[in-house]
């Protein structure tokens, strides 16, 4: 967009006087107020005709993806190339953590256990986590982390976009909030892919390697689990295999703009190729959705859960 055009579009806040004069309790704040509760006014009862255990498992799948990737992104803080990217990555991690909190809390309501979000995050063993392998992989270099973020946010944006019409009003509300967040995550990652891929020889090489390392883990994102299929049929969840076309279209576009060759879509068996480190190797066609994970997840959880497990009543 051209400069003048953009200037013209900054005037979307037409009635400035009216807003200032309006009777609200935020009038003291020129900046930084007006926060919304994403679940305000939403009926939190479990919809009829749905198995609460299935719904809880589904919430854990989506929530664990967000929780684990959030943790990986947090590991970048203070290590990113520039302070500005530290903050950007922390913001993305916080967005995902917020999605995880809502989804884990929803799981506690759906399965009737009434467990809180912390109980799910801090007191489960690795085999009880239902995240895909992609999100638990070591960060690798900046290029790998950004390719992983691009892949994940492209998949998740397609997912949340469809989940907005879920028959579960809570999932629909969480998705509606998440779509705006993940749209930015995808944009941030895609722009970095363009810079890296179409940058220097070294950045192009690293971006190429990163895409090759991430691609073996793409297939699992779109391989439907029984619970996903059941909930999709009930109008609650989304069959992930229906998201693949959108994912491929976005990836083709971004990779072409980034002057990167589309990575070869290795079947899971060919995955010996190049994950960022040996410890990330997972069995062929392993399903994180079933709780099958590589050793790196245990290490991640050991760190993430250590404080809560050592001080079980701690609050902060």
């Amino acid at each position: 967009m051209e400069h003048a055009d953009r200037l013209a579009h900054t005037d979307d806040f037409a009635d400035a006087y009216g807003s200032i004069a309006s009777d609200n309790d935020e009038h003291r704040w020129a900046f930084g107020s007006g926060f919304d509760d994403p679940l305000a006014g939403v009926d939190t009862a479990v919809p009829s005709g749905v198995d609460g255990t299935d719904l809880a498992a589904y919430c854990l799948m989506l929530g664990d993806d967000a929780l684990i990737l959030s943790h990986r992104l947090q590991e970048w803080v203070s290590r990113a190339p520039e302070l500005e990217d530290d903050v950007a990555i922390a913001n993305i991690a916080l967005d995902l953590l917020g999605q995880a909190r809502l989804l884990l809390a929803r799981a506690g309501k759906a399965d009737g256990s009434d467990r809180g979000e912390d109980a799910y995050a801090y007191l489960r063993s690795p085999s009880e986590f239902r995240n895909v392998a992609l999100v638990e992989l070591d960060n690798g270099d900046f290029a790998f982390s950004l390719v992983r973020l691009l892949v994940f946010s492209t998949y998740r944006l397609a997912l949340l976009d469809r989940l907005r019409t879920s028959r579960d009003p809570v999932l629909a509300a969480i998705a509606a909030k998440g779509v705006k967040e993940v749209t930015y995550h995808r944009d941030y990652a895609a722009r970095w892919m363009l810079r890296l891929g179409d940058g220097t020889q070294e950045s192009h090489r690293r971006a190429t390697d990163a895409a090759a390392a991430a691609w073996p883990y793409v297939e699992e994102l779109f391989r439907p689990h029984d619970i996903e299929l059941k909930l999709a049929a009930a109008g609650i969840g989304v069959d992930p295999s229906t998201l693949r076309a959108e994912f491929d279209a976005v990836m083709t576009q971004v990779l072409a703009a980034a002057t990167l060759q589309p990575p070869v879509a290795d079947p899971p068996a060919g995955r010996a190729a190049a994950p960022p480190s040996d410890a990330t190797a997972v069995p062929a066609a392993a399903s994180g959705r079933n709780g099958e994970h590589a050793e790196v997840l245990s290490e991640l959880l050991a760190e993430m859960q250590s404080l809560a497990r050592a001080h079980s009543e701690a609050t902060w």
């Binding site: 930084g32 520039e82 903050v87 941030y188 722009r191």
Partner: protein, 128 residues
């Protein structure tokens, strides 16, 4: 005007807060500069939800305008501050010098008739 260091030697954009180079030795056309080790500085202006104008909120580093805008979103609107962002290359801002403070600003200090203080202002007119 008081004597002081030549403007070009004393002020740089890289400190952030509006004191920028103005002298003849300072490149301003800028597109031919040599590659640099860090990204250039940008000044960020945000219009708040209830703000009428874009207000300077700080500065940041970015490789180009698009990245500056994105970084500004991440650094300066995290607490729900903004509805609009402008970013400006710090080097493109020409600033008044502290040495010129007296000649620039002191003369308006005793011109009280330039303020509309002799009119009755209705209560419901904001932002006078």
């Amino acid at each position: 005007m008081t004597e002081g260091p030549a403007p070009a030697s004393g002020y740089t954009a890289e400190g952030g807060h509006g004191a920028v180079p103005t002298g003849p030795s300072v490149p301003t056309g800028s597109r031919t500069r040599a590659p640099r080790n860090s990204w250039p500085l940008w000044e960020v202006f945000v219009r708040g939800k209830r703000g009428l104008n874009h207000v300077h909120v700080g500065s940041l580093h970015a490789a180009d305008g698009e990245m500056a805008l994105s970084n500004a979103r991440d650094v300066y609107t995290r607490r729900n501050e903004g509805v609009s962002i402008w970013v400006v290359p710090a080097a493109e801002i020409t600033a008044s010098s502290p040495d010129e403070k007296d000649s620039y600003f002191a003369p308006s200090g005793d011109k009280v008739y330039r303020h509309p203080t002799f009119y009755e202002i209705p209560d419901n007119v904001p932002h006078m």
